[in-house]
Every structure is written in structure tokens, then in C-alpha cells.
């Protein structure tokens, strides 16, 4: 018997990274801008996507990939709002992975054609931990925190707040009913993710949505050059 060391030096996520690189190239070739929407369950991912689409739809043709453990509730909501939507049921898995997005993009391609889509919103599984490590080939990851969840979430879940390219604080219309400390929230983010822009919004009441959508449109245009 002999003992020896074998060097492997590969990423644990090499399969997903390969898939994400393929997706990124596919999105780029079709000039599709992809937004990975992250939050805990109930923070307002669906209503934020709907309200964003309302403001962008004269300029961009949007579509949605819905990720949930089960059900097609969100995809039905999106379709009722006139958005092409594909539902992924992860069957218990706490995040979306590249192969699932690949299949969903195939379905969008077959259904409406990628040449007829400018923006895809990926509504990830509601979770503040697991989606962080899985690249989906997106241009932008957006983190939505809602006021009722509390200002301490960036302290408790630093990874996702650090990972995001834009930080939305939703449900600011109900802020008076909650002890949400904006100073503490901003203070944490100033150190944790000082470069991502922050937007205070109410997706259902419209507050702050124009500012967020104007910034997003700038990002979409910048990616096209």
C-alpha cells in the first residue's frame, strides 16, 4: 500500500458555474437583461416585479421566471398581469440553480422567443441564505427587505446584503407602525455593502418606484452598449 496526495483544485460549484457562464452568454447574445430577485418569503418580490413591470413595460418587454418550493400561484399572478411567466417548483430545494434556469429559459424561448424579451426577472425562492452562492448568469441581484422584518436583518444575514447589487427597502408606507430604525439599517449597510444603491419603496402604493425604475433602466441601457 502507498499513500499519495492528489491535487484537484476545482470549485465545489463548478457545474453551476459552467451553467451560469453559458446562461450569461445566452442572455448577452439575445440582449436580455436578467435580474435575480432575492428576499425572504413575504417581502414583496412578486408585487415589486409587477410594479416595476408597470413602469418599464412601455420601454421593455419583461418576462418572469418564478421559483417556489411548490405551487404556480405566482406564475398565474404574473400571467394575469400580461407577463410571460415560467414556474419552477424546486420541490423543497431552498434556491434556484443554473440547470433550472436553463430549462425555464428554454420554455420562454419556445413560448415567446428570447428575441421578444428585453428583461427577465428571476423570482428566487424566498430565502436569505442559500441563493447567495448560486450564480444564475444574471446581470443584477436585487435584495428586497420589507419594513416589518426589522432593521437588524443585514446584521443577521450579511451574505445576501453584501451580495446584492441593489438594495430595496419595501413597505415603507407602513413604517410608522413598526420600530424600523433607518439609522441602524443604513449604518450596517454603509460598512457591509457601501456601493449598492438603496431605494425605499412601497411596491403597492408606488412610493419610490419611479426612482428605482429609472436607475434600473439606466443599468439595462448600460448593459446594451
Amino acid at each position: 500500500m502507498a499513500e499519495k496526495t492528489v491535487s484537484i483544485e476545482t470549485s465545489m460549484l463548478s457545474r453551476n458555474e459552467r451553467l451560469a457562464a453559458g446562461l450569461r452568454e445566452r442572455f448577452r447574445a439575445h440582449q436580455v437583461y436578467v435580474v435575480n430577485v432575492l428576499s425572504s418569503p413575504g417581502s414583496g418580490k412578486t408585487s415589486t416585479i409587477l410594479a416595476t413591470n408597470e413602469r418599464l413595460r412601455d420601454r421593455y418587454r419583461c418576462a418572469v421566471i418564478e421559483g417556489d418550493i411548490a405551487s404556480d400561484v405566482d406564475a398565474v399572478t404574473m400571467k394575469e398581469a400580461g407577463l410571460p411567466a415560467v414556474q419552477i417548483n424546486t420541490g423543497g430545494l431552498c434556491h434556484l440553480e443554473g440547470n433550472m434556469i436553463g430549462q425555464a429559459v428554454d420554455a420562454l424561448e419556445a413560448g415567446v422567443g428570447l428575441e421578444n424579451i428585453d428583461v427577465i426577472f428571476i423570482e428566487n425562492v424566498g430565502n436569505l441564505v442559500c441563493p447567495v452562492d448560486f450564480d444564475l448568469g444574471e446581470n443584477l441581484a436585487v435584495m428586497i427587505l420589507s419594513v416589518p422584518e426589522g432593521d437588524d436583518k443585514p446584521v443577521k444575514y450579511p451574505g445576501i446584503f453584501q451580495h446584492a447589487g441593489a438594495l430595496l427597502l419595501n413597505k415603507v408606507d407602513v413604517a410608522p407602525a413598526f420600530d424600523f430604525d433607518m439609522g441602524a439599517y443604513n449604518g450596517t449597510l454603509d460598512d457591509l455593502n457601501p456601493t449598492a444603491p438603496r431605494f425605499s419603496i412601497s411596491a403597492t402604493k408606488g412610493q419610490g418606484m419611479d426612482e428605482w425604475c429609472a436607475w434600473l433602466a439606466d443599468q439595462i441601457e448600460a448593459a446594451r452598449v
Binding site: 496526495t5 492528489v6 447567495v132 452562492d133 460598512d191
Partner: protein
């Protein structure tokens, strides 16, 4: 908690590498994991203990994990600094324009294996 999914990929890679190298068994598996990732040490070891039984090559293999502290480069003043998960600004000049050098690793470094003696192979290791 996606450690089970992560580790199932690790088992596949390890078994393929061990087989390719002609191993009788895998003694240990070494991973390199950055502190900025969402991986929990206990869950990782638990997942490994569950999954290593799937192949006779890995069933006794130990898991060794090297954790990597985050380091960033300040793009404003050139300072290279170690930091925690919460403080990404340059401690010298306060700039937010920094680039992460390490801390997001999720790597399989390598394996220690046992191979049958090969009298013709006297390559020094």
C-alpha cells in the same frame, strides 16, 4: 442549508479523481471555504458523513476544511486588508471602492488516497 447539494457534487468529483488515480480508498478530502460564503461547518460535516457512504472508496474518508478569511484590495489607495463579513470599507482611507481578493472560495483542494504498491513507480512524492 444547501450543504447536502454542495457535498453531493464533492463526492462525485472525489470519487472520479480517486478512481482515475487508481485509489483503493480515499483517506481524506480537503476543502477550502471562504468566510463570505453561506456554508456552515457542522452542516458540511454532517452532509459528508451521510454522503461518503454512497461509494466504498469514500466511506472512511475524513473531511478537512481550511477556512479562508476575507481579504480585499482598496482600489483608491492600494491598501490590502483582512476584514470580517460586515466591514468591507478600506480601514485606511474609508473608500467603498474595494475588490474582494479572497473569502468567497468553495473549492475542492485535493484528496489523500491509498493506492496498491506499484514497484515500477518510484517517482518521489
Amino acid at each position: 442549508m444547501h450543504e447536502l447539494g454542495l457535498m453531493s457534487g464533492v463526492v462525485d468529483t472525489v470519487v472520479a479523481s480517486a478512481r482515475h488515480a487508481g485509489a483503493d480508498r480515499v483517506i481524506s478530502v480537503r476543502l477550502r471555504i471562504g468566510d463570505m460564503t453561506e456554508v456552515m461547518d457542522e452542516a458540511l460535516h454532517f452532509a459528508w458523513e451521510v454522503l461518503r457512504d454512497e461509494d466504498p472508496l469514500t466511506k472512511d474518508a475524513e473531511l478537512e476544511v481550511d477556512y479562508v478569511r476575507p481579504r480585499s484590495l482598496c482600489l483608491a489607495c492600494g491598501n490590502e486588508f483582512e476584514h470580517d463579513r460586515f466591514h468591507l470599507r478600506c480601514p485606511d482611507c474609508g473608500s467603498a471602492e474595494t475588490s474582494l481578493l479572497s473569502g468567497r472560495e468553495l473549492d475542492i483542494v485535493g484528496i489523500d488516497i491509498e493506492t496498491p504498491d506499484d514497484p515500477e513507480d518510484d517517482t518521489p512524492r
